[in-house]
């Protein structure tokens, strides 16, 4: 895998679960029966209907954007629990865009909770992003999946049975 092939989803997985990232890169996906995913998809389709959705740029897909004095990238999330992955996905987009435009921010929106959260790129985050990209490439070269660790949030994951059995 090349650096240009890295997507926002991979960054999410890298932060939360390197094992799931490995499966994702190897195209093994267990999410086909997961209700949470269907709900998220439905929410994505039904919220912010007036905006133009899914803006594609290279290997990135933004849920929607707003342009004014600054460029704002939006990411729609079902719940404000466990958003660390989504946060880093946005950081990844901002990081990729920083060469094109400097005046830029990201916003995580939770339509169900009527909440939002602003996200800015800092120097520390830029360093961290570079580490993450290196890490993702390392995971993609692994010959076997990283060892399963049982975390509290594993229970709702659709890989749970595959990992724990």
């Amino acid at each position: 895998m090349k650096k240009e092939d890295i997507t926002g989803v991979m960054v999410q997985y890298y932060v939360l679960c390197k094992r799931e990232l490995w499966f994702y890169i190897k195209q093994i996906n267990m999410n086909y029966n997961n209700d949470d995913i269907s709900i998220g998809k439905f929410l994505h389709e039904t919220s912010y209907k007036r905006e133009k959705k899914e803006i594609r740029l290279d290997n990135m897909v933004f849920d929607f954007i707003k342009r004014g004095e600054e460029l704002v990238i939006f990411e729609i999330k079902k719940s404000s629990k466990l958003t660390i992955g989504a946060k880093y996905q946005l950081y990844f987009y901002l990081y990729n865009l920083k060469l094109i435009q400097t005046n830029i921010k990201g916003i995580l929106v939770y339509p169900k909770e009527r909440k939002k959260e602003e996200i800015f790129l800092t120097n520390e985050i830029i360093d961290e992003m570079e580490e993450i990209i290196k890490g993702i490439l390392e995971v993609s070269n692994l010959n076997r999946p990283p060892i399963a660790k049982n975390q509290p949030y594993c229970k709702r994951c659709s890989f749970y049975e595959l990992c724990m059995v």
Partner: protein, 323 residues
């Protein structure tokens, strides 16, 4: 939870808008498409093209059985779970003799263990099975595939011979398949066909390729990995169902037709299917998942374990009853 649909009468499956209907001489029934996992046709069932495409789109396997209850074939949707890596590794484990033998051995160990567990359960209930249990226990599973196969054969033979002690009626001497010559043979054939299709539907939910098998040869016409898996679960699902049906007098001679061989009639099939279904839905506490899983789900977990083995994640150990 999704459940399989069993059709024992003759009729037509058709689609109107997004609803599936089963139409026969007397009735027109709606079939809730999202509530079924697979369709098993024991009667003469015709599928209109609308119904077939609808079922394929929803990823529902349709299995066909002939009038003797033997599996004939399936309408198998296009594979939705596709990982080149898994299939390549699965084939690698078939081609490498050592790797294949490891998996085949695990399968036979599983069969042996589960048969012994089943027999010991009846032995505790006062049936004298010591001789057969001893015979099976001293079987040493080793050598090449052919040797393991014959070892497996001897294990089954001993198990089948013990049926006369376990069962309260219907004498059973020898496994005869085509056609089944007596009641027990016909129950075994019917039950094994059912299990074969159940396993096939579960394999469809994994990334495994159903044709690449380890104990059986993949050159057999059927999805032979399904045969491999089914053998491990036969003692706890099929044979236990038969013991219950026979010993509780739920089946009698009037549920069979005696023709060239001996076969279950429609009423008999219905009784068998409903008991089989109950067995599949029985749940037990899983040791490592720490939650209750059904016997049916255990089959899928077996698939996951094999995938993990192929990906060098965790070495495969076949399912061995722990309760």
């Amino acid at each position: 939870m999704k459940n399989p649909l069993y059709i024992t009468s003759h009729g037509i499956l058709s689609r109107k808008d997004n609803t599936l209907y089963f139409i026969n001489e007397t009735d027109k029934k709606q079939i809730p498409i999202h509530a079924i996992s697979e369709i098993n046709c024991f009667g003469k069932v015709s599928l209109k093209s609308g119904a077939s495409t609808f079922l394929m789109k929803e990823g529902i396997v349709v299995n066909f059985f002939n009038k003797y209850g033997f599996y004939e074939g399936s309408l198998y949707p296009k594979i939705k779970l596709n990982s080149g890596l898994v299939v390549v590794r699965q084939s690698e484990h078939y081609l490498d003799v050592k790797k294949r033998q490891y998996i085949a051995k695990e399968f036979v160990e599983g069969i042996k263990h589960n048969i012994l567990k089943t027999m010991k359960y009846y032995s505790k209930k006062g049936k004298n099975l010591d001789e057969y249990i001893e015979n099976i226990e001293k079987e040493n599973i080793d050598g090449d595939i052919a040797q393991m196969m014959s070892c497996e054969g001897r294990i089954w033979n001993n198990f089948y011979q013990s049926f006369n002690v376990i069962l309260r009626k219907f004498p059973f001497n020898k496994r005869e398949i085509r056609p089944p010559i007596d009641e027990i043979n016909s129950l075994l054939s019917f039950g094994n066909s059912l299990l074969y299709t159940t396993v096939l539907s579960e394999l469809y939910q994994t990334y495994l390729h159903p044709s690449v098998s380890f104990l059986h040869e993949p050159s057999e016409r059927r999805f032979s990995l399904s045969l491999d898996f089914a053998d491990i679960f036969k003692p706890i699902i099929v044979d236990r169902t038969i013991f219950k049906l026979v010993n509780n007098n739920m089946l009698s001679k009037k549920h069979f037709t005696y023709d060239v061989g001996c076969l279950l009639n429609d009423k008999g099939k219905q009784i068998f299917i409903s008991e089989y279904q109950k067995k599949l839905e029985t749940t037990i506490m899983h040791q490592t998942l720490n939650k209750k899983v059904s016997y049916k789900y255990l089959i899928r977990l077996e698939g996951y374990k094999l995938i993990k083995h192929f990906l060098k994640d965790k070495q495969y150990e076949s399912f061995k009853m722990w309760w």
